[in-house]
């Protein structure tokens, strides 16, 4: 079940599947998909069982069925590495796209997306610049790569950091949970791929944290 929030007057749905839906623009926003990461590991001699790509796509299908978006906007790190794109990953992705033919893909390239342009046509990806301004939002991959001018009224939405919170309570084992990090002027999405690290961030008082636990996004005021 999504949790609805409002930013600069725009409604956004935060999904526990680690994505954001922007109903007004019918846009499903994801970040850090890292397609083919498991494959890349296997190629390098690290044994990872199969099933991660399938589950990424199944998750995506689930979201698409729920939200019926017109487009998917990826805030960077579409793939992990081009070597990770085996025939298998490629064909599964194509197959998925074939079943969702009306969906547009807009991709802001992330630091992992080197040479993605060579594949963009194949997967019908529209590669954008490093920034995309769609008021009230300014989208990018790495939020630290930009200094927002004071005058701007745009709200920066990005990925890259894989934000997480640590739950610490006496007696319980420490546990990191992925989260949405919503500060006053910017927000960071959790990584869509579950096979990725989780990073604690320097949250500040006043930040809102959308903690993903079980099948819910629980909002905390920091």
């Amino acid at each position: 079940m999504p949790t609805r929030i409002e930013i600069r007057g725009e409604a956004l749905d935060l999904f526990p599947e680690r994505a954001v839906f922007w109903p007004k623009r019918r846009t499903l926003i994801l970040s850090d998909i890292h397609f083919g990461k498991d494959q890349y590991f296997r190629l390098s001699g690290v044994p990872i069982p199969q099933g991660l790509t399938e589950s990424l796509l199944a998750n995506l299908q689930h979201l698409v069925t729920l939200c019926e978006p017109a487009r998917i906007l990826v805030l960077g790190d579409f793939w992990h590495h081009k070597f990770g794109i085996s025939e298998d990953v490629d064909s599964k992705l194509l197959e998925w796209q074939d079943e969702n033919r009306d969906l547009k893909w807009h991709v802001i390239p992330g630091n992992h997306d080197r040479r993605l342009e060579e594949w963009a046509d194949r997967w019908n990806l529209v590669l954008l610049n490093d920034f995309l301004l769609e008021p009230p939002f300014l989208f990018t991959h790495d939020p630290s790569a930009i200094v927002l001018p004071k005058s701007t009224s745009a709200y920066l939405l990005s990925g890259h950091l894989h934000p997480a919170v640590r739950l610490q309570a006496p007696g319980f084992p420490d546990q990191k949970l992925p989260c949405f990090w919503l500060s006053k002027d910017y927000g960071v999405l959790p990584a869509f791929n579950t096979f990725t690290g989780l990073n604690l961030q320097k949250y500040c008082k006043g930040d809102q944290i959308g903690v993903i636990a079980d099948n819910e996004v629980i909002l905390w005021d920091y």
Binding site: V46, P49, L167, P170, P173, W220
Partner: protein
């Protein structure tokens, strides 16, 4: 291989020149070796055990030289490695090398001797990749590494002797299994090799011997040789004038520091053993505070210090120039210090074997006895010591349980060997089943391991495009040179957390400390390391820069390592002792300062008899405590706690706090646990046990933690060189992630099963747990409700809560726990530089 005593004249002469006479057990060892036998020598440090094991091939060499002369068919000495000496401790390696060199030089043997450990110079290592010396001294890890290079067989085929030194340290560990595997390969290559182990006194020497030899050699070809009896142990105890009535486990108990200093002053050289590195640093500071004039005469020694510092301390100790050294298990074994004439044990000895071992570090002068002075840090330990004394008299030493076929170690081994000349499947299976650890390895398990290294799993669930080893014409070899390089970097079974080096700003290395401790410090925060008070300046590139501090208050790093559990043997001893007390008998009751505590316990509650299970329930500010006293040791208690909590919460949603120590299991709950319900679940014994264990939430959490080591050993997690090997960053993922991925996508992976099995066998001491459950069900039940904690319960009230079992959903907890959200994460003291390093890889 005929060789009869007497010992060749050269050797007797040389011994005489040194002013030594060979001990009978040494000669017996040489004789047995020359008869082609394998053997196990039981001898403590400082009894000439090195010579006992080493001289066999030397004797044989001279006998053969003699024969050659006689037959005038002078054939040259066979080339290649002759003696391989495996030691678990780097610190010991140098000493052994010196001893061997003395012999070889003294007897004019033209053998080259090389020491190869992780500390060895790169150029020496490089040379060893191509050519082996006649005598090699090395560690289990370096042995595996040696086997990972091609063309080894011709250099090893004339190997005569493998010595595994301090085998008691290796048995029951994965390092021990790694050693067994290495030996199995050597035995294939060198038909004439004889395996000799050296072990200190352990409970079951016979099974230790069998573990080292494996199932193959006939029993008649194995000789067990008893070294000289270790000296008598004299145990004294410092008794505090007043023992607090509420013993607080975990608090320092340094009130005896004055008495300890007095005793140190009366003798030449003392070792002060503590159970943790932090405690060592603290005791050092307190001793220095007590006797400032001892600066320079006392030192601290533990595993996290700079090797040079440690070596310096060891040298000074050997020369007898130090008055005292405060140390941890880092000095439990190893080099002999004849000057040491007194040993202190601060705090619980935890196990009988350990106490004997520590006591044995003193009194190596002829006719001297081992003098051990026990320093209790809280009142209970006085009872523990009485129990330990009794156990020493009865020689109730803990058994070492061999590790059962750990597949992670095997997975590492098959890849390691593939880096060398390779192997065929059947040949290696036959070889591996000659080890004790894998003698019952089934064909299926074997094939799974090979498949896992080859393609990730059996054909059906193979991992696409994954391969680490490949097969050509029936021969398995490594898939690529890059893979071989990586394998060599990750050989080993000891895991370590990320450690930061601690250095002075001006240069000078002090030691290393876990990142988790330093991460919490802010610049200018003082802490002690290597006996020096320093303050943090900054952290950069995995190094913490510090400067001297004059502050009087400081932190002590808490090095990970966990608390040693009290062994079951000692736990039972304590229960027996408490039982004696309840009847007004035994030794502990003679200790005056214990009396008030015991009296209070008896007035408020009861002192349980040996066949009784005492359960106390009382309310505190935090909630209701229900404390049971099985006296089975911490490891078993953790299992009991997890299991009982599971049974108590399965019917209604609840959260229970779990606290255990070596004597008791406590559960903390918002509402009192009803007596009858507790009784029913606790006394259920082993009924439904397998089912309960599987469903027990906490165990799966423990398995996840256990998987960290398994993932590393099996080669899933590649740590590489921190900060150096940038190309590997895209390949890093935490073992937690691996655990989740396997759990979800390959639940039948045998490594997951292994993790669960290890939790049961090692962490929870499964067999003991089952016996304990049955035995507890048979005890007489004594339930006492109180309005405050008793002296027996009090330590649990102040102990940090260990675990919590909750049948609530995570999301429910998250909602409740907003307050518990760590406010400053990550800690701001980490410099931006380090943060970048830490965080760089997952993006």
């Amino acid at each position: 291989m005929t060789c009869s005593l007497p010992v060749p004249a050269q050797i007797t002469d040389w011994f005489r020149e040194q002013g030594w006479t060979p001990f009978a057990y040494q000669k017996a060892s040489w004789q047995a070796f020359c008869e082609g036998k394998h053997g196990m020598i039981r001898a403590d440090t400082g009894m000439g055990k090195t010579y006992a094991a080493l001289m066999g091939p030397v004797v044989e060499h001279f006998r053969e030289a003699e024969n050659r002369k006689e037959s005038e068919n002078a054939r040259g000495d066979l080339k290649g490695l002759k003696i391989l000496w495996i030691t678990p401790l780097r610190a010991l390696a140098k000493d052994t090398e010196d001893a061997i060199r003395t012999v070889c030089e003294g007897l004019g043997l033209p053998w080259s001797i090389v020491l190869r450990t992780g500390d060895t110079k790169a150029s020496v290592k490089q040379k060893l990749n191509y050519k082996l010396p006649e005598v090699l001294i090395t560690t289990p890890e370096s042995l595996s590494l040696l086997l990972s290079y091609p063309n080894r067989r011709p250099q090893v085929q004339n190997l005569k002797l493998v010595v595994v030194d301090e085998w008691h340290e290796l048995i029951g560990t994965k390092r021990g299994v790694q050693t067994e595997l290495g030996l199995s390969r050597l035995r294939q290559w060198a038909p004439d090799v004889r395996t000799w182990g050296i072990s200190a006194t352990i409970a079951d020497l016979n099974s230790a011997t069998m573990t080292l030899m494996g199932p193959q050699p006939a029993e008649t070809s194995i000789e067990t040789i008893e070294g000289p009896e270790s000296p008598e142990i004299e145990i004294h105890s410092l008794i505090p004038e007043t023992a607090e009535r509420f013993p607080w486990a975990g608090h320092l108990g340094t009130q005896l520091v004055g008495q300890v200093a007095d005793q140190i002053a009366q003798r030449n050289t003392s070792l002060v053993f503590t159970n943790t590195r932090s405690q060592a640093e603290q005791w050092y500071q307190h001793l220095l505070g007590e006797r400032p004039e001892w600066a320079g005469q006392i030192a601290v020694h533990h595993g996290s210090l700079d090797p040079d510092v440690r070596r310096w301390v060891e040298t000074q100790l050997a020369e007898g120039t130090l008055r005292a050294v405060v140390c941890t298990s880092s000095l439990d074994l190893g080099v002999d210090f004849p000057e040491v004439d007194q040993v202190f044990q601060v705090g619980s000895p935890k196990g009988v074997g350990r106490l004997i071992q520590r006591a044995g570090r003193s009194g190596h002068r002829p006719t001297a006895s081992s003098r051990l002075v026990f320093v209790p840090t809280h009142a209970f330990e006085l009872i523990e010591l009485t129990a330990a004394k009794q156990a020493i008299e009865e020689r109730l030493i803990e058994k070492r349980v061999a590790v059962k076929q750990p597949l992670d170690v095997l997975a590492q081994h098959v890849v390691t060997l593939a880096c060398g000349d390779g192997y065929t499947q059947d040949e290696l299976y036959a070889e591996i089943t000659t080890t004790h650890a894998y003698q019952n390895l089934s064909r299926e398990q074997w094939e799974w391991v090979l498949d896992f290294a080859h393609r990730g799993g059996s054909t059906l669930d193979a991992y696409p495009d994954y391969k680490r080893i490949t097969e050509t014409d029936g021969k398995w070899t490594i898939a690529s040179r890059a893979m071989a390089r990586r394998q060599r970097m990750s050989i080993g079974t000891i895991s370590s957390d990320a450690m930061l080096r601690v250095k002075y700003m001006k240069g000078g290395y002090l030691g290393s400390v876990e990142e988790s401790f330093l991460g919490r410090l802010k610049p200018n925060d003082p802490f002690v390391i290597a006996g020096k008070v320093v303050e943090l300046v900054r952290i950069q590139d995995m190094t913490a820069y510090v400067k001297r501090s004059r502050r009087k208050r400081w932190n002590v790093p808490r090095w990970v390592g966990g608390k040693l559990p009290l062994s079951s043997e000692l736990g039972n001893g304590v229960r027996r002792e408490v039982g004696h007390i309840s009847k007004g008998e035994g030794e502990a009751i003679q200790i005056d300062s214990l009396l008030p505590l015991l009296k209070l316990q008896d007035d408020w509650s009861i002192i349980p008899k040996q066949n009784e299970l005492l359960v106390e329930q009382f309310k505190t500010r935090d909630g209701f405590f229900t404390v049971a006293f099985p006296f089975e040791g911490r490891a078993v208690h953790e299992g009991l706690a997890a299991l009982w909590a599971y049974r108590l919460t399965r019917q209604q949603k609840a959260t229970l706090g779990l606290i255990v120590n070596d004597y008791a299991v406590a559960m903390l709950s918002p509402e009192p646990i009803p007596r009858d319900r507790f009784k029913m679940e606790v006394l259920a014994g082993t009924q439904d046990l397998p089912q309960d264990i599987v469903e027990c939430l906490n165990l799966s959490q423990m398995a996840r933690q256990q998987f960290r080591d398994i993932a590393r050993i099996a080669g899933l997690v590649f740590s590489g060189f921190p900060g150096r090997n940038k190309s590997s960053k895209q390949l890093q993922a935490s073992s937690n992630l691996f655990f989740d991925v396997f759990q979800q996508y390959d639940p039948n992976n045998l490594l997951l099963q292994q993790a669960r099995q290890e939790v049961l066998d090692q962490q929870l001491n499964w067999e003991r747990l089952v016996t304990a459950l049955q035995e507890i069900a048979g005890r007489t039940w004594r339930w006492v409700e109180l309005d405050r904690p008793t002296p027996f319960s009090f330590p649990l009230v102040v102990e940090r809560m260990r675990d919590r079992v909750s049948s609530e959903k995570l999301s429910e907890r998250v909602k409740k726990m907003q307050a518990a959200l760590e406010k400053k994460s990550p800690p701001p003291s980490i410099s931006p530089n380090l943060r970048r390093n830490q965080n760089a890889y997952p993006y």
